[in-house]
Each structure stands twice: as structure tokens, then as C-alpha cells.
């Protein structure tokens, strides 16, 4: 019976298509069409031309915002790596109880709404907050404005995105065979050189994974830069939202969205060729 059933499905091969059809049709109508709509609008609003792309690619404001977005994303990725690596190390090489507590903390942070985390940084960095109070206590008379600056939005983004980096590196570190480290030690490697030539290369896949993920998410970040960042140093997503909401400039907004999308997809395609996209979130 089981054999005849599988023979039947092999021959006709209609089953997978029947099972896939509802989702396929749904995604076509409610995912592909809106995306194509954005692409079309970028060429047709307000009239058919390349004017939107010309404006976005040559206008000083737009160039500055794109440049700011890429440098911010790169800087946030670097900070996440510097912050995440030691923490992942601590998790991977502590006693089970300590490791579990830290893992619990990182998981908590990961699952806490990023609006909540953004709000917390507003409290921490605000003019009546603990950080300013601390600066005053140690004798800084005119503490600098922390909130609504590049500093505050960067700090919050590092905090929000660090768990992605930590989880990716931790997974790789856990799988490292201790025998490799021991044999490197027995061959005379220690300290910095052991780390540089043995440990670090072994964790490289986790670093690559985490970095791509953090960079790509950061490129498209909307909420945190809008709420915490300096209005003068917008990121692309914020500017797109601004164009749509304030000026109903769908053409310009769409052109910027398309550029953001294309850049994101190029990065992910390169990644997919080397590692496979499904590895990214696993």
C-alpha cells in the first residue's frame, strides 16, 4: 500500500504542486505584486522617466544619506563583532550554569521587542538619565548631549543586533573540537598566536554569518535611527519613510527602496552562493 502510494506520486508528481499552490498564489498576490509595484513606481511617479534614480544617485542629500547608511552599518557590524566575540567565548567556555545564565540573558534580549530596547536606551542616555548623572558625578560640568545623536542610535543598534552575532559565533565555538586546541598547544602555540592562528580561523564561519546578518539588517533599519538618531544624519530607511509620509513622494521613495533592495539582495546572493541562505538564520 505504502509502496503503491509512493509509486503513484512519483509517476504523476502533481502532489507537490497541489500542496504548494495556495502559498504560491498567496505570495504572488501579496508579496511579489507589492514589490513589483515599488519597482514600477520608481520609474513612473510622477511621470515615466529615470528622473528619480538620477536624483537619488546624484543629489547631495541622497548621496550623503546612502554613504551614512553604509558606514553606520559597517561600524555597527564591527562593534557587534567586538562586543559579541568575547561574550560568545565566555558562553562557550564557562561552567554549564554560568553559560546557561548568559545564554538566558542573550535570549531574553533577543526576544525583547526592539521598541522596548530603544526606549530603554532613551531612558539610559536621557538628560535626566543615569549616564549623564554619572558624568556629572565624576566632574564633567557640561555633559554632552547623548540622546538624538549618532552615538545614541549606534549604541542602541549595536545592542539590538549583538544577539544575532553572539548566537552565530557561539554555535560555531561550541562545535570546536578541544583536541584541536590541545594539539596546537602541544606543538607550542600559546596565547596570542594560538588564538590568531588556530582559534580565530576556526570561528571564521560564525563571524561571516553574524556579520552578513547584522550588516544587512542594519542597512534597512528604520525604527531605532528615527527615534534615537540625529535628524541631520538620517539612514536610508528613515528617509524613505519621510518621503512617503511627509511629501507623498512615492517615486523618490520607491527609487531609494529599490536601491536598498538591490544592494541587500546582492550581498545575500554572494552569501547564498558560498554558504546557503537557509544557514543565515539557522
Amino acid at each position: 500500500m505504502g509502496i503503491s502510494l509512493s509509486k503513484l506520486t512519483e509517476k504523476t508528481n502533481i502532489w507537490p504542486w497541489l500542496l504548494l499552490a495556495p502559498l504560491g498564489i498567496y505570495m504572488l498576490i501579496f508579496f511579489a505584486v507589492p514589490l513589483v509595484d515599488v519597482a514600477i513606481m520608481s520609474f513612473t511617479e510622477p511621470k515615466v522617466s529615470f528622473a528619480n534614480y538620477q536624483k537619488v544617485l546624484t543629489g547631495a542629500l541622497y548621496q550623503r544619506v546612502f554613504l551614512n547608511t553604509f558606514t553606520t552599518a559597517a561600524f555597527v557590524t564591527l562593534c557587534c563583532l567586538l562586543v559579541g566575540y568575547p561574550l560568545a567565548y565566555l558562553m562557550a567556555h564557562s561552567k554549564p550554569r554560568t553559560a546557561m545564565l548568559i545564554l538566558l540573558l542573550v535570549t531574553m534580549s533577543f526576544w525583547t521587542s526592539f521598541l522596548v530596547r530603544t526606549y530603554s536606551w532613551m531612558v539610559l542616555l536621557g538628560n535626566n538619565g543615569p549616564l549623564i548623572a554619572f558624568l556629572q558625578m565624576i566632574g564633567v560640568d557640561n555633559p554632552p548631549q547623548l540622546l538624538f545623536t549618532r552615538f545614541s542610535s549606534t549604541l542602541a543598534m549595536v545592542h539590538i543586533l549583538a544577539p544575532y552575532m553572539i548566537m552565530n559565533i557561539y554555535t560555531v565555538m561550541k562545535k570546536i573540537d578541544p583536541a584541536l586546541i590541545r594539539s596546537a598547544e602541544s606543538l607550542g602555540a600559546k596565547g596570542w598566536s594560538l588564538f590568531r592562528h588556530v582559534y580565530l580561523p576556526l570561528t571564521a564561519p560564525g563571524i561571516a554569518n553574524g556579520s552578513v546578518l547584522v550588516f544587512v539588517i542594519c542597512l534597512g533599519f528604520y525604527v531605532t535611527p528615527v527615534l534615537l538618531g540625529s535628524p541631520r544624519e538620517q539612514m536610508v530607511a528613515g528617509l524613505i519613510g519621510h518621503q512617503i509620509e511627509e511629501f507623498l513622494a512615492f517615486g523618490l521613495g520607491s527609487a531609494m527602496a529599490m536601491i536598498l533592495l538591490v544592494v541587500t539582495l546582492i550581498i545575500l546572493t554572494i552569501y547564498h552562493r558560498r554558504f546557503g541562505l537557509d544557514k543565515l538564520w539557522g
Binding site: 495556495p22 522596548v116 531612558v123 539610559l124 536621557g126 529599490m258 536598498l260 539582495l265
Partner: protein, 267 residues
């Protein structure tokens, strides 16, 4: 190296923890604006949250939208996952990739698309519009979790049931589904949270009629940084803590039991 990494690690622990622990005392503060540490404590902002329709309606909207999104997502994803994991056919690699696409597209790009497209369809500012959009965004995560589960499924169990005379439908209902239940539950949970947390698309298309909690929080933070947000943050924080800590404690209790039972599989 080792010592350095450990110390650096402990400092990072503080950095990760600080924003999480700060909202709890803030929610009991009696200050009228953001101030830490609070000058005094009261429960006023909890009362403000639980009695104010401006906050309760968005909360209810979010629960409603996330529930509907979960049901719709699972109805679409479960059969599709079976097709993609259990069948080989031309175009499967492409279909696999398409399932993950909504995760690769920045939400702001989708927001622009939905804002214009749903505007044409008359779906902007409606619950249905948000549900339809959120379902697309929940598909990849539900698929990832479920397909991982289905790949680990031992098909001999189904063959055994069929060899004993069970019909395909019976086999599915009495063998396949019960074994897959943990995967289905986790997959649904992820879809629910994805929708409940989603902010960017909701900001653009939910309007005032279908306003979700994240959208209301976003507006409130942008305008006045209402201290009620600390209350909501604390409540959301407790929900997450219970959700995450419960399995930990359950497994800790189990491991202390005299006769450790075998792990149940999908963890």
C-alpha cells in the same frame, strides 16, 4: 588571552543586561517624564495603561492580528513544507529560496509596496490589510522551523502504520501530526511573535483603525516618551521571561528527578 576574553565578556554581559533591567523600576516611577533613578514609586502608570482605551485597543488589535496571521500562515505553510521536504521536483530549489525571500527584503521596502498597493485595493487602515501583510513576513520563519522538524521525521513510523493497514489520511492524523506537534507549536509561536512585534509595515498601513501596539508605542515614543511605555515594556518583558525561562526551569526540574526521562525530541 583567556583572562582578557573573560573580563571583556563580563563587561558585555552588563551592556546587554542594562537596558533590560532599567525598564522595570521605570514602570513604577512617579516622575512625569523620563528620569532615572525615579524620584519615587507608585502604580499610577499601570492604572493608566489598564484603564486607557488608547493603549488597550492597540493591544487588542495586536493580539487579534497576530492570532489571525498565525492561523493563515500555518494553513499555507504546513502543506507547502510537506511538498518541499518530502517531494523532489523541478524548480524545488527555486521554491525553497522563494519561501525565504520575505526575510531578505527590508521591511521598509515592503512598507512602501503595501502602502501603495493596499491603498489601491482599499485595504489600508484595516485589520485585514495588516494580517495579509504580516502573513507574508511570517512565512519564512514558520517554514524554517517546520522544515527543520519535518526533515528529522522518521518516515518508518508512517510506513509501519500503513503496513498495519492504516489509510494515508489515518496515518497522517494519528501518526504524522502528533509527532510533529512540538514543531507545529514552535512554528506557530514564531509566526505569532513575528506579527506581534512587527513595527515598520504596521506604522505605514495600520492607520488609526487597526493601530497595533508597536505602532502606538512608536508614535508615543516619538512624540512625548510617555512613561506608560515603561509599563508595557515591563509587561512584554515578563511575558518573554516566562516564555523563555519556563522550559529552562522545566528541564532543570526534570534533570533533578531521580529517573531522568528521555528528552522529548524537538528541543
Amino acid at each position: 588571552m583567556n583572562t582578557f576574553m573573560r573580563w571583556a565578556g563580563f563587561i558585555v554581559v552588563l551592556f546587554i543586561a542594562a537596558p533590560l533591567v532599567i525598564v522595570v523600576p521605570m514602570s513604577f516611577s512617579n516622575a512625569s517624564s523620563l528620569q532615572f533613578p525615579p524620584p519615587g514609586y507608585w502604580l499610577g502608570y499601570y492604572r493608566a495603561y489598564f484603564t486607557n482605551a488608547d493603549w488597550l485597543i492597540p493591544t487588542w488589535n495586536s493580539i487579534l492580528i497576530a492570532t489571525a496571521t498565525t492561523i493563515l500562515t500555518m494553513a499555507l505553510v504546513v502543506p507547502a513544507t510537506f511538498a518541499l521536504v518530502r517531494h523532489k521536483f523541478r524548480g524545488k530549489g527555486f521554491a525553497d529560496l522563494m519561501m525565504l525571500m520575505p526575510m531578505a527584503v527590508p521591511h521598509i521596502v515592503m512598507a512602501v509596496g503595501y502602502y501603495s498597493y493596499f491603498g489601491d485595493l482599499g485595504l489600508v487602515h484595516s485589520h485585514l490589510g495588516v494580517i495579509l501583510a504580516h502573513t507574508c513576513l511570517s512565512v519564512p520563519i514558520a517554514f524554517l522551523v517546520l522544515s527543520a522538524n519535518l526533515k528529522g521525521f522518521d518516515r518508518n513510523l508512517e510506513r509501519a502504520a500503513q503496513s498495519l493497514g492504516a489509510s494515508p489520511a489515518k496515518t497522517f492524523l494519528h501518526v504524522t501530526l502528533p509527532i510533529l506537534r512540538p514543531g507545529l507549536v514552535i512554528s506557530s509561536l514564531f509566526a505569532f511573535i513575528q506579527s506581534f512585534d512587527e513595527t515598520v509595515v504596521a506604522i505605514f498601513i495600520s492607520g488609526r483603525d487597526a493601530e497595533t501596539l508597536p505602532r502606538k508605542m512608536f508614535d508615543s515614543i516619538r512624540q512625548e516618551a510617555d512613561p506608560v511605555i515603561a509599563v508595557i515594556s515591563t509587561l512584554l518583558f515578563v511575558v518573554v521571561l516566562v516564555g523563555i525561562a519556563a522550559p529552562y526551569f522545566a528541564s532543570a526540574l526534570r534533570s533533578r528527578a531521580p529517573k531522568p526521562s528521555r528528552p522529548a525530541g524537538a528541543h
